[in-house]
Symmetry: C2
Subunit: 455 residues, 2 copies
């Protein structure tokens, strides 16, 4: 049993899905509706994503007009894009009207032009403007991530004024907010103050006295990856977004940043594994397509390796055992390369590894490769010697293994650093790339040494 | 230029480190101190981690008694553990006294027994009790993550009482807080209320009327990974931690959860790459040790593959070309396996892939493997045919490649699902594992088919 509780209801159980499918198949939509209506939107989103197409459509029809717009926000964007036509205009219009501007904009953005215009014509002009504003920013920028719903406070108020102001305006405020943004008469951001600071201060205290003057803000154009890094480093809950003139445009809250952190971590992970832009819920064809690129490069590279080996055809004919031992060298180099590569890519993403410590880090990786290389080349020397009782062969294995481990860790560290130096995403140096490189070098080295000393 | 601004100071520049090192070497500590004193603790932590040992010691001495305890919290735990003896007892005691209980406990935990006891004897008994409480919970549990500094409100108050109470007690409250926790006379959690709700309600409103009764809470024993998942799914800013009787123990804030999300993502990434518990800032020896395990398994596995190939020694002697083409089959299978594996491990971590959709997902992966397998086996058929003009050889290549891609995606998906089913961390099925499996199967299949049809 999970020990997370929402009052008495246990945190959600994915295995419930089977009983839901049963209800859907028995057409007992009323019963199903009563079960899920108290669920958190993210849980309902989970089930929608896990159902088969047929069950999903029936389930969405069950919720019909009681469909909570927040569920749309909780659906994975790629998935929502695929199924958005299953929702009727009433549900979507209500969603656009009720959601925060950033969420509303990301949903509008998925619709085809016809439905988009139909919905935009139905909503208030204030909402329309903030949605259009949002969409005018670059994808993955702070401007897209921010919501325009924000609590602005003129600098000349005192705490009492602010509390009275909030009580009076509560209908027009965001549902939850943590920080107040202090502006001057030109809408320029001049400070921030946390709600806890306001509530703990006496009514006559001036806002200008309790606000944080050395406040943080971010330009609307900067990339969401940098936004996440700032939240992470500064432990922020919200961050003001401004334009060139420092005019306050909106706010980014930490829950949106958590999504960004998840997405960025996933992207790095998938790229390293040579998986392109895919979604777990994607269609088979689009997943196959996303993975095609790296398989393609890998095939070309593998045939290059084959070409290298083919040049040693005679050597192998004379000493077929070499064919058996070749993969040992290649796979150990690949393993060492992948380890260094992954470490470097992650450290670059976390801004631990930069150009200023690039050489020191690469040096460290090479030393690590040498240390383990030494131990494992000794190990493989011993195994080979006892297996084949051939000193020269064991020696060639040991030397090639040591060198390939060192090469692996060098390339693994150096390639992402150089890519990042030239503004290329370091995670693009997928594992397949480094593995191929160590394969080719390993084969070449081993077979060359073998043809010199063993034949 | 970065467009994040802390008032007029630009967001931090890692390349500044060179000018700092210069100042340190010129012994101009006063100048350096004046530069960094307005920096955010996380930035100072960055430089401390990036300096060489010698520069670091001098830099810490420069800050001396003005050392801001929050810097300790921003240092990476593995790194702090390594260098904690460089701080003197005065700095550490002050840190323990000023920091929140969770942070204080994690620092105390790094000290040797002698220094630990010296510090514990110097701090207030209230602080000592909350630190000891914290350390009594399992590592990586909600109990360790929570801070005992929390704002509790008796249920019978109204908004006016609460505001007066907060104003009076402000010295004893956490520096920043977002939610108030409503308790009954037995300290049992009965509801939560956001600060924004309190501040927007009139003074005579009863807390019991505005609080969220269907509130969330979590048991102190649950794992931090599940905590992160709840914050992620429910977009929480803080979450109450309770014991078996629902007595309120503390609160977990979202900034601590961001650290957990980063750590968990990093762990999965590093494990998949066969890198054990290492830190980017770790010593060469400890990094080498962390990577040793998978290199060791890889060496054993590579020799098993060598043993498989050795059984086909005669076949290879007769047809040495096979040795050149073997790695094509193996590496394509490994590539496909890694893609499926990574997708599955990430989906399990994000709770998208569970036992209830395990079979459907595995089926999908196999289909993806089949689709790409078909295309690439056709491709390799053509390449081989034009290269060697040998229909039978091209056919054997194509069939082995297709089968190995299908096997790769099957194992890649199935192994982590099964591991997770039996409670083993699925990321433990490192890429090296799947690659080895597809290597061995690929060699076996290709060489068997070759010895049947080509010799």
């Amino acid at each position: 049993m999970s020990k997370f509780q929402s009052n008495n209801q246990d945190y959600f159980k994915p295995e419930n899905i089977n009983s839901f499918i049963e209800l859907i198949e028995k057409e007992e939509s009323k019963k199903l509706f009563n079960i899920v209506k108290d669920f958190h939107p993210s849980e309902i989103a989970y089930y929608i994503q896990a159902f088969s197409e047929n069950h999903r459509k029936k389930f969405i029809a069950t919720l019909a007009n009681d469909f909570d717009p927040s569920i749309l926000v909780e659906l994975e964007p790629n998935f929502l894009e695929k199924i958005i036509d299953e929702f009727d205009l009433i549900v979507l219009s209500r969603a656009i009207n009720e959601l925060n501007s950033d969420d509303a904009a990301s949903i509008i953005n998925l619709l085809d032009l016809g439905r988009k215009n139909k919905i935009l014509s139905k909503i208030s002009s204030k909402n329309r403007i903030s949605i259009e504003d949002n969409l005018s920013y670059k994808e993955n920028s702070a401007g897209r991530l921010m919501q325009s719903e924000i609590v602005k406070i003129p600098i000349d108020l005192n705490v009492g004024h602010v509390i009275d102001f909030l009580r009076k305006k509560k209908k027009n405020l965001p549902e939850v907010f943590y920080d107040l943004f202090v502006i001057d008469s030109d809408d320029i951001l001049v400070g921030t103050v946390t709600l806890s600071k306001v509530i703990c201060s006496s009514r006559i205290k001036k806002i200008s006295q309790i606000m944080k003057k050395n406040h943080e803000s971010i330009h609307a154009s900067i990339d969401q990856e940098e936004v996440a890094d700032i939240f992470r480093k500064r432990n922020l809950t919200s961050l003001a977004v401004v334009n060139d003139k420092k005019k306050l445009l909106g706010v980014i809250n930490v829950d949106d940043v958590v999504d960004v952190i998840d997405t960025e971590a996933e992207e790095d992970l998938l790229k390293l594994a040579g998986v392109g832009e895919q979604s777990f819920y994607g269609a088979i064809l689009s997943i196959s397509k996303a993975r095609f690129t790296w398989l393609f490069f890998n095939l070309i590279a593998a045939f290059v390796a084959a070409y290298v080996i083919k040049n040693f055809e005679e050597t192998i004919q004379k000493f077929a055992l070499l064919a058996a031992l070749m993969p040992v060298i290649a796979s150990m180099g690949g393993c060492s390369g992948t380890q260094s590569l992954t470490t470097a890519v992650r450290a670059i993403a976390m801004k631990q590894l930069t150009w200023s410590n690039a050489f020191r880090s690469t040096g460290k990786e090479v030393l690590v490769g040498f240390l383990n290389g030494f131990i494992f080349s000794l190990g493989s020397f011993i195994i080979t010697f006892f297996w084949f009782d051939d000193f020269k062969l064991s020696f060639v294995i040991a030397i090639s293994l040591l060198l390939n481990l060192i090469f692996g860790s060098f390339f693994g560290a150096f390639i992402p650093i150089m890519l990042s130096r030239f503004g290329i995403d370091p995670a693009f140096a997928s594992g397949a790339f480094v593995i191929t490189l160590t394969d080719i070098i390993g084969f070449l080295m081993f077979l060359t040494l073998a043809s010199i000393y063993l034949i």
